[in-house]
Symmetry: C2
Subunit: 379 residues, 2 copies
């Protein structure tokens, strides 16, 4: 299926970004390319592997670029995402980072294992391991033991529980114990570097103690996976992980731009590569105009989108329902109908998940349409 068949009349591809209908999800190709190269160079330089998280971008195109830059595979949050990656040719080194529990999903997981190489999934309960083992076929499925980083979302909370899980995996001929995962989500967005480092110290102690206990139990983890864009430098300094599952660095949303990632107050080593272009569609009230992008164009779980370009200094976005946003200009100012305003994504993952297509630009030129192929694949 070509892009044209997929998206048909919904895209008005004119070769120019300014001619696109709005609201439209835009990638700055050069910034994306630099972000991918920058994280790849960091990992290479520090001797840690990279298995970037596709839950951020849901795009096989971007996954392939990450792999071409040196990534050993791709993380997916859900089975459906991994299936889409495989459907589009990303078939090696997929890792599903949250438990696959439902019986129909376990059947699909085994099917995916048959048609990919080195597939891995996490488990945090003996019961789930046994269900995976019962469904497994001849080709072994890799299993990563999930550790709870303290937020009680998924994972086991003790070295003893981790060892029990390893034993359960080892008891299943169709499963292969690969290592452990600990994703410290709560620490990623702490704006101050030292505070973030201190917060990670406590987690590091737990992870290290589990690794030590596993080694003592003759179950040394080949893989220790975790880390995120917010803590990737701290994680590597602490020597916690054999591989990083960073995701947001490709796009750098407002949440991460607010973090001192390098630890010395210097600008973030990654740039904003993801934007939404919107247009002024109503301008009847002095001091404000209405944009054609609202709750269905931006996620609402973080701050409001920041204005990047196209409006007067100090212009501020506020949600106005599902379809619209207000651009507060102040001082009785206004803008012309149809003017294009560029906004940053407040939280990239769920913002991407609202859109069907990336419009990939270099400057003002539209270079490509990339489907958000795994959009909505939350199961």
């Amino acid at each position: 299926m070509t892009d044209e068949e997929l998206h048909g009349h919904l895209i008005d591809q004119q070769g120019s970004r300014r001619e696109l209908n709005t609201p439209v999800l835009v990638i700055d190709l050069d910034a994306l390319t630099r972000n991918i190269a920058s994280m790849a160079a960091f990992a290479r330089g520090r001797g840690v592997q990279l298995r970037p998280h596709a839950k951020t971008h849901k795009s096989p195109e971007i996954a392939k670029r990450q792999i071409a830059a040196g990534a050993i595979g791709i993380c997916c949050a859900k089975l459906g995402e991994a299936e889409v990656m495989a459907d589009h040719g990303v078939t090696t080194g997929l890792h599903i980072t949250s438990p696959v529990v439902s019986p129909p999903a376990i059947r699909r997981l085994i099917g995916l294992n048959e048609r990919t190489q080195d597939l891995m999934c996490v488990a945090d309960s003996v019961e789930n391991v046994q269900a995976l083992g019962a469904a497994a076929t001849g080709k072994p499925l890799g299993v990563i033991i999930d550790l709870d980083p303290g937020i009680h979302r998924t994972g086991v909370t003790s070295a003893e529980a981790a060892i029990s899980l390893v034993r359960a995996v080892q008891a299943e001929p169709g499963l292969q114990y690969k290592g452990i995962q600990c994703y410290c989500g709560a620490q990623q967005h702490i704006a101050d570097f030292e505070e973030r480092r201190t917060a990670m110290d406590g987690r590091a102690e737990f992870i290290s103690s589990v690794v030590a206990a596993l080694i003592k139990a003759d179950a040394a983890p080949q893989i220790v996976t975790g880390g995120g864009t917010g803590t990737h430098r701290i994680d590597v300094d602490l020597g916690l992980f054999t591989e990083l599952q960073v995701g947001s660095y490709v796009f750098m949303d407002s949440q991460y731009l607010a973090c001192d990632l390098a630890g010395d107050g210097s600008p973030a080593p990654f740039e904003t590569a993801l934007m939404v272009d919107a247009r002024v569609v109503s301008a009847n009230t002095p001091g404000m105009v209405t944009l054609d992008a609202g709750i269905k164009a931006f996620s609402t779980d973080a701050a409001a989108p920041a204005v990047i370009a196209g409006a007067v200094d100090g212009a501020r976005y506020a949600f106005m329902g599902d379809e619209h946003g207000a651009l507060i200009l102040g001082g009785g100012q206004t803008m012309d109908l149809g003017q294009v305003v560029t906004l940053a994504a407040p939280h990239c993952d769920p913002t991407v998940n609202l859109h069907d297509t990336y419009h990939v630009v270099q400057g003002d030129t539209l270079r490509a349409l990339w489907p958000v192929a795994a959009r909505g694949r939350s199961r």
Copy 2:
């Protein structure tokens, strides 16, 4: 394209709701059917037309059922939604309720007019009317003058401005003046009926004054459209509208269930017809379990989803990131891995917009898969 080709391996259709992979968007077919019939009977009984809003459901299947029950057409928030409706056979009486301003969208709008009957769109600026007129071809496009209900999102704020717009429309041979629209969004969710009625009184005065001025200017509106699920009874009592553009009544989300719609404290005349089924995927912490539905399965602009079924009394959902939610059970209770929990959508429109497919059930039996065909069509 069949459902199977569209959704392929992502759906595990087993004939039973309990066998579906999760998180999954579910419609109770009987409740939906009763809601559609109930609003149709209300409108018929009160002598008002119904042009229900498809921004809620984004489904040609549901639109066709609303039309079969007596609706004269379908409202769409954006052009892309209307195009999808037309692509799937809903070709008569489409009305686009927010301004179509961008040049590529105006070209598409004229194309849509060519292949449908009695298409209408709104306008709130002379400049936009002139752009529509310049693009229009032989077949006239219906134009509705949009009034600002006081929230300054779209619409004109005075009778004089409305009359100027009518004149601008009348000056364009390719456009046809049809009437006015005033959607009082801010009043819809006021929980108390009397407070809601009082809030509408002020709006009614404005709308009536504009209608009177238009009549005096020999520009009587043939159509006066507006109203929502929250105010539909009040709107009809006030005699404000010739037609209602109610949307949420088909599903009845938590926001509307909290409203006294009938005005006498009696149960809402519509039922919850939209749900998300989720599963327990982790259960390592006493007093809580983790569900496989988070920010990518529910909108976050309203309250957290309410638990409808499948959990102990008093169980409470809390978001835990993009992919997961916590079910707080309290008292050291737990649940089994894989148990299915049914939750209500907190705000139906943006929740629907996250999912690709409705799983239509009667009791525990899966009856149909309906694509959310206009999902993501925000432009």
